[in-house]
Symmetry: C5
Subunit: 81 residues, 5 copies
């Protein structure tokens, strides 16, 4: 799992139907790289979160059928990068 900060919601012109309708967030890592994750929790811009990758990400999104490889797993308290 990795630590990321929430940067913004991602506005999608189109998405595959099986992705479901969870919000999709743009995240930045401590080293500055950008990723995109499904958000079943409802995190806000600036929150520090940890993310779950690959097969566990699909269950974390709430349904194994969801098409995701990265999902927000929780909010971190008092994180100082």
């Amino acid at each position: 799992m990795e630590i990321h900060q929430v940067k913004q919601e991602l506005i999608l012109t189109s998405r595959l139907p099986d992705m479901g309708y969870l919000p999709v967030k743009v995240l930045t890592s401590v080293s500055g790289s950008t990723s995109v994750a499904m958000d079943p929790i409802g995190v806000k811009e600036g929150d520090w979160v940890f993310t779950i990758a690959n097969s566990a990400a699909r269950d974390a999104a709430g349904d194994k059928r969801y098409l995701t490889d990265l999902t927000v797993g929780g909010i971190i308290d008092n994180w100082r990068p």
Copy 2:
């Protein structure tokens, strides 16, 4: 999931039969690295898209039998890298 820009269609001299016949696109990431993804949506050169990796990529391509580890999941609106 990652954010990529569509660079071109990939012309294949031969491919494994189980790959199916979806278009295959060359993508570049914000940091400049190159990847190849199946495209079930029909994205165009220059579009900003997000991509789904690994086991979810196969379902995203429309059929778990498809041989892919990266699939275009949607088009991003108003993205400024």
Copy 3:
């Protein structure tokens, strides 16, 4: 599998219910990058451990339903990085 040093326990304001209640630890690699892992062993700050990633991480946490992509697999004796 990778070698990591335990840095601290991660305090979570919220987490997905299916993550279970194992402690979650912040780890650093030899090259200085930061990861987060479930800890079924009870490792302490400063311990050198090895970690198991992806699908095996879920079984390593004790239950395939646990939502993790990285789990502490053991403590390393006499490691000098």
Copy 4:
């Protein structure tokens, strides 16, 4: 999926029986890193190919029992890196 150039066949002193007997090729990426892939197609030194990783790589090799995490999926025509 990634784009690689075929460098040489890999001569193996011993291999696990469940790997099967497909040729194994050494590949280099555009950025110069080295990988090893199973080759069900019969690619030649200097060919540009694309490769399929992880679980799809096993099916791409022709049998889910094959022990591989990277398989050559096709030959690319007219590639200029």
Copy 5:
């Protein structure tokens, strides 16, 4: 799959019971990074080997229940990095 050189056996103070009792080896890649792999073959310090990652690594270790994400798959003959 990747090419690695065997550096040393890893001495474990404790390990999860489901890891089984195969030797665990510290490996270095051509670019100098360090990984840890299960060794069902019995490779020696200094050997050049190739390694299999993720789900195939578990079968390569001899049993899908083994908790590993990297397993030695074979010894390479006459490798000059």
